[in-house]
Subunit: 619 residues, 2 copies
Amino acid sequence: MANLLVDERDVKFVLYEQLRLDGFAQSDLYSEFSREMCDMILEAAYKFAENELWPINADGDAQGALLVDGHARAPESFHKAYNLYCENGWPLLSVETECGGQGCPIVLYCAVMESFVAANLAFTAYPGLTLGAARLAQKYGTDEQRSAYMHKMFSGEWGGTMCLTEPQAGSDVGALRTRAKRNPDGTYSIVGNKIFISSGDHDLCENIIHMVLARVEGAPPGTKGISIFIVPKKRIEGGSLVPNDVTTTAVEKKLGIHGSATCALSFGEKDACVGYLLGEENSGMKIMFDMMNEARLAVAFQGLGLASGAYMQALHYAMDRVQGSHYSQMRDPQAPKVPIIEHPDVRRMLMWMKSVTEGVRSLLYYTAFCVDRARTAADQAEAERHRGLIDLLIPIGKAWASDMGFRVTETAVQVYGGYGYCSEYPVEQYLRDIKITSIYEGTNAIQALDLVGRKLTYKQGALFRTFIEETEQVLNRIGDNPRLESVVTLFREARARLVEATTFFAQKGFSGDFLIPVLYASPYLELFGDVAVGFMLLWQAEIADAKLEEIYRNAGADTPEKQARVASESADAGYYCGKLASARFFANTFLSLSAGKAKVIMSGERSAVDVPVEAFLRR
Amino acid sequence: MANLLVDERDVKFVLYEQLRLDGFAQSDLYSEFSREMCDMILEAAYKFAENELWPINADGDAQGALLVDGHARAPESFHKAYNLYCENGWPLLSVETECGGQGCPIVLYCAVMESFVAANLAFTAYPGLTLGAARLAQKYGTDEQRSAYMHKMFSGEWGGTMCLTEPQAGSDVGALRTRAKRNPDGTYSIVGNKIFISSGDHDLCENIIHMVLARVEGAPPGTKGISIFIVPKKRIEGGSLVPNDVTTTAVEKKLGIHGSATCALSFGEKDACVGYLLGEENSGMKIMFDMMNEARLAVAFQGLGLASGAYMQALHYAMDRVQGSHYSQMRDPQAPKVPIIEHPDVRRMLMWMKSVTEGVRSLLYYTAFCVDRARTAADQAEAERHRGLIDLLIPIGKAWASDMGFRVTETAVQVYGGYGYCSEYPVEQYLRDIKITSIYEGTNAIQALDLVGRKLTYKQGALFRTFIEETEQVLNRIGDNPRLESVVTLFREARARLVEATTFFAQKGFSGDFLIPVLYASPYLELFGDVAVGFMLLWQAEIADAKLEEIYRNAGADTPEKQARVASESADAGYYCGKLASARFFANTFLSLSAGKAKVIMSGERSAVDVPVEAFLRR
């Protein structure tokens, strides 16, 4: 199955050949995660994705989550899968062993998630949000709070949510109005309305624990006056659960992820909603931001997973679907019909999807791997270096993976042609589902502002310099390998343009002209994403080239003809050839545009903001 | 209303200031179409779009077309609108006066259609296909066929369809298998299955006339053996209508245009389906191709209309929606909140949508105008010139408008943020509806192959040279106007790269290396689209600049400050400022990438086709 939704060979290439995950077997933290162990987990995950999640993906989409008598219901078919998900222990995979989990490396957890979201994004919203909420309780909760909530959430027995957004406070979180009034017993009374709450209500669990941002009376305005509260759907009173005055007022009808219950919640309609402060008053944003990297990385992996699923489906379709004859025989009506993968334009689309998907996979696995390397680092400096890379790469990965993932699903629809537009085939659902990833956990515009405003400026560009050093190491290893010369040249040129654009922003910032960096933040992030993904594919090409040379040498394949035969007969050789093709194709298609993209950013063109609003429309 | 879905001011700028449509009042053919007359028609169309089509757009989407007891039903709400559409005479707008129509200029008809599709694409599928089928009967039918079918279709009393696609024959039309057997009475018995038939069955009309591609016994294989038949749903026998053995086997569930009945039809299940040959045997493809330009131009206008609707909705939303404070005050929690159009990133997205929509509008209106100019041409050479431009620009317009229109709807979703993902707001429907325009009437890959394989090669590049001459005229008129210098420079550079890429393809073709043009046809079309749209905006900038200078001169506004005041006070001045901004923004954003895009095309990179299929996936 793996190969129906995720290219298992490519996943293993990233994990073992590029990142050398098996090296962790020497670390204290991950000593149990030998390659055999990791393979076993991946295999189980792919089976679960194939046998349980994928078969209910279309059904969950068709049924949708519904509001019935004031309560949200997950699609009927999700219930069995959710119970199995918990029974199999998937919720505990990444949870620390001291909390009863398996404590697996984050990059492995992410690899598992890639296959789960590829199979059924809507389903994963339920356990996904729960884990995030549980992590908050784990990190900031009192002992009492941890024992009351954390374990039941980690196991999946109870659900969890993050309640940030309000009708007037989306990207501008500081504008939220939900109020918290101190009660004499140390609890708080919560009153307010939240919208767009993923898994805000459902019938998969007996209780749901909401993490609610609210403002305590008298708190300062803006983000500095926000606190965070644990607000259970049903609160624990003397060993039993009693309703806590949380009302589900709506389940949104949406473009995609129909099976995920996106709820509007009303807290304290009867003034009987009790919240428990998490951490200290007015530290809500700090606490929430602490989870931001994890949440945004998760969304980036959603972009990857759906791109992967759509690409693999389109690939299988193109290999099976026979229509038209080879372009060289187009005028001969008797010419044999061929699978559409033989048509150059279809092949080009598939190679586009392949290179983007593989490049994003590498970038995101690398980012997740940095989390593991920070955790297992020998010293503070090394840990700091990896944390810096995470901070820098997360907004890029989140935005680039979701935006380009959307293009991958769009391209999948084109490969299917008319069938791609029909619900009978799976790609139109991918297109609808993936769009949310450009929006939630901070729209991609917010990611770009975070990159330009925070990550680039941190310690006068220290994070950016670390990234450049990482690329330099790979370039040094490649040296003047003639087989990679064209890719190296395109990459060096693109990197130089990125450095120029970055310096340009820095100069603007120093001189107090913030408009240009703000106006061009999104195009800049796109350029950075191109270079970062191009870097990953170059790095992979270095490895694939060496392996391929070794295979050729061992097979005595010393002519192009012999090498071609080896490549079509040996699974490994074929894969490495494809990997080199991804790198060449991506460099040519994306990195050739870097000079132009940098020129746009540095043009100083500001028509958009210089003209009055009336130039758009006079009402 | 116009300004809710279509920017009426911009439409009138194109029609009267750029194309000088009112000049037609001097022609014999269009002498009745004075500016007053055109304005009246536009006003009536915008009212109809606003009052009748737009209010049922979301309902048609939610209800969808349904198959009930073997018969397709249009959404209930479409019935009243369809009757009004016919009563108001809209089906006859572009039909020749000698056939009982109004005989309006095609560009005006297209302007009307832009507003109708912006309001409700699914609805327009019903009358749209009917007109196409009626045109076939008009042009190729016998007198008997014309009198039997044409008038009832022109009036909208009967519907019409085009039946090309079969399960194994989509892009490869030549593979179709529907058979036609000669009957002794000169009719034919039709047997076969067709899929993806827009308006293939519905309950808006009492009868539907299918134009069916089929193969007569003994016909040659491939496209040369295809004939076209008139196959009524109910045939006329002795003055009454009797069923003609056409069965509706399915109504497709689709990503979008839910209200449009996309049917699978079975002809001759009981061997009792009678077809009437249109034209001669084996001339079906020629006849169908003759209508292809019209059909593809219609789809291009669908791309434009949906982009326009999505842009205008997002623009209104961004002007009304208040959230966040101005970027220069972001750290002050007390700073006033502003409409999101004040945020630079939102403004940039809107300017992107504005420039693309206006540029596409100009390109498509210009193409439609060429149809009118060919019709009213003083001599054969002039007519030929305009027909050449039509042939060249239609594949570009169809593919670029639909692909970039899709990006406009995607950007509209981003402007709305989380709300954009919710069905309660209109933009997610635009995103779903517009996707079909990249697929039907020839996928965009087919358009690219048509451009590269037929249009570029026609008379050794004669059409391409005509296009270049057209651009040269505008450049000559602009001369060295310093206010347009930056746009002119970017355009000249982009045009030079397009010429290079075109020459490169020509050289490849001469040397018999067709792979590269076939492999890079789609990227080439994209580059051509950028240049063609950039040309249109440059041409518009020339006009807007002159008008603006005149306004400033008349107002005595001789300083930037005075000019800014005039621009925000005078509707015309504000509009022209916006037009200049569109040209500058587009040139900077799109044309700056032309050098890179040409480099990609001319790279010769062919990894995608050089690697074996096993490099993608070993099964």
